[in-house]
Amino acid sequence: MIHEPEVLIIGGGPAGLSAARQAVKAGCKTTLIDDAFDLGGQLVKQTHKFFGSEMEYAGVRGIKIPEILLDEIKDDSNFEYLLRTSATGYYEDGVVTALYENNEMLKFKPKKLIIATGASENTIPFVNNDLPGVYGAGAVQTLMNVYGVKPGEMGLMIGAGNIGLIVSYQLKQAGVDVAAVVEAAPKVGGYWVHASKIARLGIPIKTRTTILEAIGKEKVEGSRIASVDENWQPIPGTEQTINCDFICLAVGLYPLSDIFHLAKCEMKYVPELGGEVPVRDWEMKTTIEDIYVAGDAGGIEEASSAMIEGALAGLSAANALGKEPEDYNNVKCQLINELSELRCGPVGDHIRCGLAQCSMEDENES
């Protein structure tokens, strides 16, 4: 049996939920699928208060945002969602296959497809980086914030971007110590306020430092770090042993772009956005007519921008279906302006640079 929603959304994180909200409110029969146990994507682990503006729920803790996004549509008969459902394929006749609870194969043929699959974690090479106890930052967050299990007693954090800094703080809140945050670049990549709040808890941030080795036989029992020079090479004589029982890698994310490839969307490799991303326009449409992108799947950024892109994608899909969403042009412009506002400061430089490489048209033309 082939399910035929008007809109199929793959991914129930901030982008997917925002897209669903717009599409359903505009009257589209919408199905959302996600491979996790719960809706919310990465939001379910974000215990910290969000940045941005009121429109992106600034000041609200990430964990509270999924229910806010769902609130308006959860009882709408036009909306259904399936959990533990992994999209497995896209066929040239527009059919999306998915595996439901590892058991059942589902088939969808939507009129419009919104891909909001998010991102996955990078890893870095160092001796024994496959030892039990070497975890991605997301894994550490899942363990402690979703399931209430400590990843260990003393961690070493690799990476001082927002994720490395925030997860270090969350570890302290969970009663776990962090020996240090190690960052190969000369500066922290995350917000200074995040760095300040972990510094005053006694977590040292060591820039121009890298990890050489995880020490242990069956699991992590320690680590060796060293300073690096301008060419990112370890400086002999600067090696130090750090006591820890887990190592957390917060070394960046890359977009999960498999389905775009299967659908033959035009892709570009954009380092500023974390990897391969689909070329898109200001309505979040890819080069394939009925396929849209939103959130980290289109470029690594923040939950705040993911929510706005999702809203744009949902709105655009609804409009393309002839649903005539209320005040469409004004709402669309408002959303595009909101995105520009978030991105216009210095911390948005690399995003704007990245988007320039994969955007189909100038924003002034839309």
Binding site: H48, K49, F50, F51, G52, S53, E54, A58, G59, R61, K172, Q173, P186, K187, V188, Y191, W192, V193, H194, A195, S196, K197, I198, A199, R200, L201, G202, I203, P204, I205, T207, R208, S304, E341, L342, R343, C344, G345, P346, V347, G348
Partner: protein, 162 residues
Amino acid sequence: MNPNIENSGIPSKEQIERTLPSKERREKGPYVVIECWQKIPCNPCVKACPFGVIQPMEDINDLPVTDIDKCTGCGLCISLCPGLAIFVIDETYGEEDQALVMIPHEFVPIPKKGDLVQALDRQGNYICDAQVVRTTQNKSNTTVVHLLIPREFILDVRAIKP
């Protein structure tokens, strides 16, 4: 490499001093101190203040600017700042050699009034004992802890040992 805000999260003396009002204002009563020096897209502090101390931002990436005369030291902004970067200092509180510092705190157990806690500086080092005068909470789950400390440390105490 010298530790600075960009490589360690620890601000310079000059950055800290820029957050303080005039000596005259400091002697009048409590005042807010916003340790936010980076242009990031963020503005909940503007709406957080019921007295209009934090000025509306034209660009969401602007640094917060305060009209410090309006500040009553209520501390609402402390619990709403996502960066936990806002504090209140009251140099008129307590004895001549004491002062009150209000800090955000998101750990359990939540300290109680009368507790003696260890106050930490920006590097997490113990700097002095502090007495908890009061704690306030709202639905944001960020506790604001009011600490009585020796006045000489008002520029240093920004956390307590969890």
